[in-house]
Amino acid sequence: MSLELYDGGLDVPTILKKWYESEVQSNYGAFIPFVGTIRDEDGITGLSFDIYEPILESWFEAWQEKAKAKGAMIKMAHSRGDVMLHQSSYISAVFSPKRRVALEFIDEFVEDFKASAPIWKYDLKDGKRIYAKDRSTAIDGSGILGEKL
């Protein structure tokens, strides 16, 4: 499994080193990680995350299949629970024989991650954990239980 979940902030240098070294003999020509770091904004002291792992895993496996079909592969790490300012909560990476495939894949993957991965974000502010409703996206196909019957 190339999907790793950690309690709290990610150790970015260690994860990038591990991923790079694990594929260094695999004859990929391009390796593009994406690292997301908690910004100091809106008076937060950090962010906190809930993850629903069964669906995250099947979502990730579907993307791994898409990557394989292009000769590429993906890896991903994400934090559970609280992550403080300037710590990182998310890393994903694509390995690919070819540069263009890698550049396009990391963009598509990160955007779908934002729109579809079953992860919920909360602002840590004044000692409270506040759902980041305004920055959240309804998963495609949402709302069926609210349909007029």
């Binding site: 997301g36 629903y52 069964p54 991650f113 934002k114 909360y122 309804a138 998963i139 196909g141 239980l145």
Partner: protein
Amino acid sequence: MIRVEFLGPIQKDPLELDITNLNQLAKILQEDKELSQWLQNSAVAVNDTLVSSLDVELEDGDKVSLLPPVCGG
């Protein structure tokens, strides 16, 4: 029995319901006022697979999950 779970920020304990399809579930949940803000924007999974319509039969032991709007990263 069908187990219904509310994920992420939906602050609600799981339900155990005696129903056989998602239409019945919709009818029950629409009567719950604290859920009104979530039903319009939550996705639905049956046994951890997302579904896109209410035309889904449920069997004893199935799990239904409500997934409100997401924001990873």
